[in-house]
Amino acid sequence: MSERDKDMGGESTELSAEDFLDPLEIPELQPGVMEDSKPYEAAPEFQESLGFPGELVPDWKERAIAMIGELRDKYRGFRVYLDACVKCGACTDKCHYFLGTGDPKNMPVARQDLLRKVYRRHYTFAGKYMPWLVGAEDLTEEVLDDWYAYFHQCSQCRRCSVFCPYGIDTAEVSMAAREIMDEIGKGQKYCNEIIGKVHTIGNNLGLQKPALAATLEDLEEDLEDDTGLEIKLPLDQKGAEILLVTPSADFFAEPHIDGLLGYAKVFHAAGASWTISSYASEAANFGMFIGSYENMRKVSLRIRKAAEDLGVKRIIFGECGHAWRVAYSFLNTLAGPFDFLDQRYPIPQHICEYTYDLIQRGVLKFDKSKNDHIRLTFHDSCNIARASRMGDKPGGQFEIPRAILRAVCNHFYDMPEDTIRESTFCCGGGGGLLTDEIMELRKKGAQPRMRALQEVAKEHGVTHMAAICAICKTQFAKVMPEYGFAMDSIVSVHQMVSNAIILEGARDGADDDDEDEE
């Protein structure tokens, strides 16, 4: 904390470390305090629709153990992660769920060990013959209970892996654990119900085409009321140049929808030909959260099919964290090659890259004073920060969203360095944990981020935080009131763009009022 105090500007010199709760403060240990935090299990219908057994199979132990071996042989990284840990402890205080709950099983190494101890028992020489010497243990019902509880207290955010000297990625271990649990009939309701909806309807919400069309029409009306301009949100437009794939929350929730209006204004200002697809009306890909390659692939193939059917030349992803990880890192493997797209553009491209490029080229003009009622900070979403990139330079995923925000508002302040960029904290609801029955975990997991926000709120009078992830936005809208912030203190990056963008021929001052956001 003292380092930061030294860096503070003149206006804040009177504040001392005691005024803040340290986001990184190590809590007192509370063994087992979160052992009952478990999301609802998936009903047989949701399990079976994804090709998993409806309920726990009689020979679950044998199948789970066999599957650890299969995954070990299939994924080299998984094997390295299980074998390499030397228990150095560097990761122990890096997880937001550990910092928020104090439960030692939320230390990343302890979480990994829930699976590693069974792996050692069956797949290592020492574990087979001298299990007591190497912490190897049998798979029991209690262990399975722990798996279900604590692998659903990992948001797969990978903060721990940044600090691990071996680069062990707990997210991979938790994905594998969830895959094993799905395969033995113990899946999670929230993720599996949603993946089923994407396979049948095309999005997480279950929003059918007529409802989507009506919503977009309604929003076009709003845009016209605000600006006097016909700003379109085209749906299923064949021959459009750009396919926008965005989280379905952008069609439904606040502040997501304000971000969608921002994309529409940017496309309008650029004179772009673009469309949304009702068939692939979802950027999110929860197949990743449950470690299921097959489901992840099936969801991705919808995007490919939509792009082919509509004859687009480019694919752009909206503000969705893990979607961008899947898109940036895996899309070509899952659903490529995309040789039918225009090769001069990134495949796929992020909406922030698109907007940033237009700003660089002077195509977009802003009246930053429209955001003067906001003092802003930026929350780096975990999957974008640690599992992808933007632009053509290292760190572009950190700089590009910030460059956009600085271009559209006058008051921007970063949170403490050890809580942002690659050290960013998860919002507390990522990785398939954005479900209400584990609200206590979500609130506690948000604590490090909220403390960092409280710090800039006190130091710089920050009032709002922007994000580029649908999960982060919903999670913060829900938990921010617990930490003294209004639910609409979380905003979309493209909402800020939307507020400030100058559109040719627009009625002046039309979107000054914020009454709908209050």
Binding site: N204, L207, P247, S248, F251, F252, A253
Partner: protein, 111 residues
């Protein structure tokens, strides 16, 4: 599976209290679900619940908050067309809590 009991009839619901068979919904049951949510139904609550049901009938999904706010504003006046107003009526969120009382499925996804 858990269920609501009303006048000798049982109405099954999921873990979170959303009706399993939405065709079973009736206004009296809505009052009961609301009570579980610690909400006393007033005419203002009914305006929202009835609108949600109409919208659902047409689109098989609840409306976006923004669409709901706008429709409320159009139908019942400016002071009823705000997020704040809806959250005062349904503190756990108009989408989820009002849907539950209206007998509609819970909106899923990152919402």
């Amino acid at each position: 599976m858990a269920a609501y009991e009303l006048n000798g009839t049982t109405y099954e619901h999921d873990e979170e209290g959303y009706l399993t068979d939405i065709s079973q919904w009736n206004p009296e049951l809505a009052e009961l679900i609301a009570k579980d949510e610690k909400i006393e139904m007033t005419p203002e609550h009914w305006e929202v619940v009835n609108f949600l049901r109409e919208y659902y009938e047409e689109y098989q999904i609840a409306p976006a908050i923004r669409v709901l706010v706008k429709a409320m504003k159009k139908k019942f006046g400016k002071e009823k067309g705000s997020n704040k107003y809806l959250y005062e009526l349904f503190p756990y969120g108009p989408a989820k809590q009002a849907c539950k009382i209206a007998g509609l499925p819970k909106p899923t996804g990152c919402v």
